[in-house]
Symmetry: C2
Subunit: 243 residues, 2 copies
């Protein structure tokens, strides 16, 4: 049976990968993915064949992986973070279609909500929304609606893809939308280069976040109305102390 594993490698270091992901990568023939993610793990799996593509070549990358698996090579398609949350698993299923060849196993990994949250403290102990600020595949009006509803529902938020070279003002615009509902002193956190060189955690208010220097290696956390700072950590209590 031809096999394709769609693997979430987590934030990027070996330690934050699951045992299952590590085993699949050790046992496969071919590792396929966006070149930045493949470079993160290449040295850990010597002797493998590697196939990479550049940014925004998602469909090409997935077709290559499906074709390689159909050709008999046990193939791992690697995604940063989780393989399903903004990852390639859906596109792999779409492109494979109504057939079982190759057999697909989606191996989950730590998404930035988990790994970035741990770096900042414990910001997501209650209900939250995960929203990407990239409007490459999504109308900005829909992103705006999601931010507004999440703020009105007092959900904590994790903002993925908060900025890139082609959209330097997205986070500022998102903050302006949130500030229509939320106060300026709402606790926020920025996790940068999670589990990679240059790892950094910063806490700030929503007002300060609006003009903060944020790049594509950042994940942004917006607290809910209960979020507080304890000994330098961003903490959203669930209410266990009130029981």
């Amino acid at each position: 049976m031809n096999r394709l594993y769609v693997i979430g490698i987590g934030p990027g270091d070996h330690e934050n990968m699951t045992l299952k992901a590590d085993r699949a990568l050790r046992q496969c023939d071919l590792i396929c993915g966006y070149h930045v993610y493949v470079d993160l793990i290449k040295d850990l799996y010597p002797g493998k064949e590697f196939l990479t593509t550049g940014m925004t070549k998602e469909a090409d990358r997935c077709r290559m992986a499906i074709d390689a698996a159909r050709g008999g090579k046990t193939t791992c398609m690697v995604c940063s973070g989780d393989s399903s949350i903004y990852g390639m698993a859906a596109l792999i299923y779409e492109l494979r279609g109504e057939t079982d060849d190759p057999a697909i196993e989606v191996i989950p990994g730590l998404t930035a909500a988990c790994s970035g949250g741990a770096l900042l403290g414990a910001p997501l102990t209650h209900d939250f929304a995960v929203i990407s600020l990239s409007d490459r595949l999504t109308e900005w009006s829909l992103i705006e609606s999601r931010l507004t509803h999440a703020a009105q529902a007092d959900l904590s938020m994790v903002l993925y893809n908060p900025a890139s070279k082609s959209r330097p003002d997205h986070l500022k615009n998102a903050c302006d939308i949130l500030l229509r509902v939320l106060p300026e002193d709402r606790i926020c956190g920025v996790a940068r280069n999670i589990a990679r060189e240059g790892e950094q955690a910063q806490l700030m208010t929503l007002g300060q976040l609006r003009t903060a220097h944020i790049d594509m290696f950042c994940t942004v956390f917006i607290g809910n109305s209960m979020t507080t700072v304890i000994n330098g950590k961003m903490v959203t209590p669930r209410g266990y102390r009130n029981v």
Copy 2:
């Protein structure tokens, strides 16, 4: 330095744990947690000391772990899923307060949004909300507001704690709230006993979910307007095929 690790063990099997969580558990003196979660991993870490408490004893459990660490035992507090997302990390920070004793490291783990998503297919490839249906610590009116806003924003949803013996009708009530906004044929999925004995994935419509037999070992996924079924899997496309 006294050390306390707050560890997300993932869904429950060894394979879905991270290398970092596994190493911390192997190297510690004492493993502390809710007895059901400790039982899941006890046999993997022979020779350790174990301290467990029953359900709803969260503050007792965390105080025990902090005290043990302050007494010089390198301690691991285990949480199912992630250590921060509905986990004990926030309460540990709250109870430690404004001191660095013990040193705390939060080690993230696979939350059910990741592990259950992988079991069902790829339901969370676009923006989503994570909402617990437990009203033990949260007013039902707030849960209702969050469900309504998430539906209005066309967010996919993951519902944690969808049912228990003391609240058998919560999921039915939640579906009734969602059905004010969403169509009856909205694609939904139920992941049961993820990575444990009796693991099961079921797809159904929102109308069917309303009367489905759901217990406390289930995590429920609600699709967004783009979610579809491909070869038996729940898939939410992100739109890469349209580029």
